[in-house]
Amino acid sequence: MKRTNNGKDRSFVGRLVGFFSSLKLTIFLLILLAVTSIAGTVIQQQAPPQDYIKEYGESGYRIIKALMLNDMYHSWWFLALLGLLIINIVVCSLDKLPRSWRFLTHPDKWPDKSRLNQYAQKAKWKSPLGVSAASTAVKEVFREHGISYEEKEDGGSFRLFAQKGQINRIGVTVTHLSVITIVLGGIIGGIWGFQGNMTIIEGHSSSNVILRDMQHRVVLPFSVRCDSFEVNYYPGTGMPKEYKSVLSIVEGNRTVLTRAIRVNHPLIYKGIRFYQASYGTISNERGVLTLAVTPKAGGEPKEVSVPVGGEVKIDNNTTLKLVGFYPDLVLGENNQPMSRSDELRNPAALLEIRRNGEFLGRSWVFAFHPNIHSNPDIPYSFRYVRFKGLQYTGLQISRDPGVGIVWTGCILMILGLIITFFISHRRWWVLVEPLKERSEIIVAGSTNRNRAAFESSFDELVTALKERTTKGER
């Protein structure tokens, strides 16, 4: 590619390349992307139209719709800005790479004396030693400083070249390549991947994934069964510790895999990931309550389970009926018991006890207040053990063939940033020329980053060199 710096190439292609490789364009695009991105954080994204109309009115919605601000990160204009940035990065990299690459393949090892004098860091002194003794001393100092070097005899004079961190020259390219890789991974995921949800009732199975747009669906080539779902709480608190679904993958009629998934621990099967996303209770009416029943006359407690509305015998002639169950009991109007939610925040059960069909009495059982109520007419006491409603698990399901490429890009980016910013390309040249019986020494140094640190290390190196090559004098 022709060098297009300074816009000197006036052809159309040249000017185009000049435009797309300009840093001004980069800065302009970065700032434009930053500013436009704000809109999507203020305006709700991908919400149904009525939400926008409610918030911004009819005309407001029309503007939002026209500018595609309701889904701006997928709008053509936002993607076009990103596309321009990518073109900018590609052209810049192609434009700059040959020059950076030359530093690696054709390092400027043996510049002539006049160019040596042009470097910012340089020192020149006379040594009482001859060329060979002085060059031996120079090499010694370089070795002691841990700088490996190349040397060359050059018509009676001695030359040395050393460099460190030359990889820095391709750091920017690696970083830019990483951005392209990440975007590529994102595009691949966007085209060939999908994201959706699936809700499965305990004991049921499904292979239908409802996609994010809530309109399309994907049918998986196998089905997923939810064997059970449970929430575990931190002891003594109402805070959930773990949401766990036991899932089975069913291919044909065969269960090929059974695994428990939790938040942060998805199941991956054939490239499709299943995440624990939500849950809920389908019905508490179909739940089963387990109670510990203890005869007041004395005796061992016995666990009995009873479905809501159902009856169970607790001894030969006594029946227990679960009249009502309230997972989250509160007192409503007129002190009517009611449940505030479907969650087991304050479970309470109302029992009815009959002996030989004859009504004995009713009793409340509270999960969190075991001693609150005891009907004297009933010869048993009851303790809440557990309640299991019929629950469903909400799974987030995704397939993203681009995700590996994205992570590769991320690793490249970290490497690229490290070699760009924390490694500098440092070079040293030494020329020892004969001066009658003695010699003249020229040392030059150059760095492309972190000049201050290099200056002081260069000065230190020169001091050591001078000391070693002038010690014969005195």
């Binding site: 840093l23 980069t26 800065i27 970065l30 700032i31 992307l33 930053a34 991105s37 704000i38 999507g40 954080t41 203020v42 994204q45 990160y73 994102g186 994201q195 931190y234 002891p235 003594g236 608190t237 109402g238 805070m239 959930p240 510790k241 773990e242 949401y243 939790r262 938040v263 942060n264 621990h265 998805p266 990931r273 995440y275 624990q276 996303a277 925040r345 304050n346 969190f368 987030q396 399901i397 995704s398 993203d400 995700v403 994205v406 992570w407 991320c410 980016m413 970290i414 940033l417 490290i418 910013f421 924390f422 201050a452």
Partner: protein
Amino acid sequence: MGEAAVVHATLDTKLVSYVIFVYLAAVVFYISYLPYRTKTLGRIATGTLLLGFVVHTAAIIARAVISYKLGWGHAPFTNLYESMVFFSWSIALLYLILEWKYKNKVIGAFVVPWAFLALAYTSIGPGIRTEVEPLIPALQSNWLIAHVITCFLGYAAFAISFGASVMYLIKARKGEKKTEKGKKREKEGFVDYLPDLKVLDEINYKSVIIGFALLTLGIITGSAWANYAWGSYWSWDPKETWSLITWFIYAAFLHARYTRGWQGKRTAYISIVGFAAVIFTYLGVNLIISGLHSYA
């Protein structure tokens, strides 16, 4: 039900409340160091900050220990309070390194106040819960620890670049006035005590480099975590988007710095805008916009 076993006024929160006052004292010493510049005052300022930092570190460790003793066992980076405490700690840490490297205590007057303000905010900010709490399932991830550490060290680096930029602009402006007036007054006040423009510019640039690398790591670890927890490494959530906006701004800074002429004042302005974006990413998003990232 009032049965929540959260622990109030634990040792760590008490320690933090002492550190607030120690940092306030450090701020006063660093500011008074500006005009007087005596060695003793400088030593007192650094010593006070160091004392605060040691107690601050102890408080963070104590909080982790308390959480482990309660059987919840998590690193103390899980809500707004804990993140603020860590943000302040990061600023203090990076500043102490900076002071040690540059042997310049003047910068402290512009950086240490941020460590103090972040910490003071934990006790005056609205709705900040200081209790040690168990972790909700989404937060039970090792990515969280990597994410929080990288993000907040990055934010702290940006806080330093912000401090350096403000100093740069003050000094540059006063410098211009001075040349206009033709060096009438010998002493211009504290501006003369600010570090060289060159040094300030370099501090700005270097902290942006470090902040940018850490922010990049923070975004990447956050994406990795999101990919494990929610099945998507990027979902244009407001917090994610704002972190990207911040990233764009500092990327613009680095590209602008790369071309000649974009140094000093102009990059100082970008740095200030960048830090405003950092603060908005951290606090504004949670206070104004709601989203996935609702804990801190």
